[in-house]
Symmetry: C2
Subunit: 207 residues, 2 copies
DNA sequence: GACGGCATCCATCGATAGTTCGAGGTGCCG
DNA sequence: CGGCACCTCGAACTATCGATGGATGCCGTC
């Protein structure tokens, strides 16, 4: 018997997961949480698996909640279930101690299988997700330095090179220099393409 | 008796909606569609309300599907049910002929109420959404034309003016002209700033 | 039908961004 | 200490962008 805790701020999604697991005799949904804080609390009450959404309307986010849940001794496994497969999200979740990462549009069969493997201690990464993680490892050399990320962040806000230079107390030449490195690492050739690429890869917050 | 068609590419969400409406004796889910195309087909089979997601994994998107559904004589009402409340999405859905616009994190009660009002021909906009629409009307002077939005979308993907020109079969000069109008309306002075501003205002998809 | 308003289209020219070299300074690590 | 990675800057050059100004056609109004 596997006891499940569902943590998602969407009532509809919670109902869907509940309905889905109702068809499996050995899976029992023993709790629902609509916030990250609530999920952490309920995870202490004797559950085997936490199904965790990464996005919550407000307050603690899924990654942080996952970290807190995993801190406790004998903590349940956390299976992250989210909409997006951006690298930043995935990496954040895995670093926080998630045993698996699934997308919400995954077929039910896959979802149920993932719960069972997580319960037996195995890692369960959706194939598409696993591929991305691997790709990221292979191209880890193209990670931006903190200074480059800082510059890129300002570029994403629509600031000009001169403007960025003044903000960071640099010469315009230095800003351009950083940009050249950014372009190379992201394999693009303009600032707007760099921003687009960075968004895709999850280097920049979506909104 | 109200017959419902659920159109969403997430199995979990479909199950959740089904479970949710199962508690209401007068609401009957008579079909599910996982694609926009499928939703259009099934809408002809005698349903009263279509619950439509805007985002689909591939193929026809929700707005286009809504438009096609509403084209038919005696077409069912379409209730858009989505994750985001960006202006672009809302306006697109309403223009396509949606009777209502709800967010997926809305409480079930609100959702069920919306279905009933839509069935009786009323318009059902979530309060938060209605506010945004009104705000948009007030500042309607800065609304982008469809051509401008098209250009801006390509700019946000990091494409160059020449590239955009070729894609839209225009001269580069025309693309620049559209950009000038976009800049004026958004009160910015560079393409990256335009993209940043458009994101803030919800003219562009978050991810 | 003359009119203004608007969306779409185009061309020229100064301003900005990006390239390509160069180089000096720092801090870290084996 | 000698590499190495990172941050910093300059200067000259080219490509692209953005500003300015003008053209067309469509639509609704009076």
């Amino acid at each position: 018997m596997i006891r499940l805790l569902i943590a998602d701020d969407h009532p509809v999604v919670r109902a869907g997961l509940r309905a889905l697991f109702a068809t499996e005799p050995d899976l029992h949904v023993v709790g629902e949480a609509a916030t990250g804080e609530n999920a952490v609390e309920q995870s202490r009450t004797g559950v085997d698996i936490v199904l965790m959404d990464l996005q919550f309307g407000g307050g603690m986010q899924g990654a942080e909640a996952t970290r807190r849940i995993r801190e406790a001794p004998g903590a349940p496994h956390v299976l992250v279930l989210t909409n997006y497969d951006t690298d930043a999200d995935i990496l954040g979740a895995v670093e926080a101690g998630a045993s698996g990462y699934l997308l919400k549009d995954a077929p039910p069969v896959e979802l149920i299988a993932a719960v069972r493997s997580a319960a037996s201690g195995e890692s369960a990464l959706a194939p598409a997700v696993a591929g991305r993680l691997e790709a990221r490892q292979n191209s880890a050399n193209e990670a931006l330095t903190s200074r480059e990320a800082e510059v890129l962040g300002l570029v994403a806000d629509g600031r000009s090179n001169r403007d960025i230079a003044r903000t960071l107390f640099l010469s315009e030449a230095t800003v351009k220099s950083h940009l050249v490195h950014i372009f190379t690492k992201l394999q693009v050739s303009s600032r707007t393409a760099a921003v687009a690429s960075a968004r895709e890869r999850g280097y920049i917050r979506p909104a």
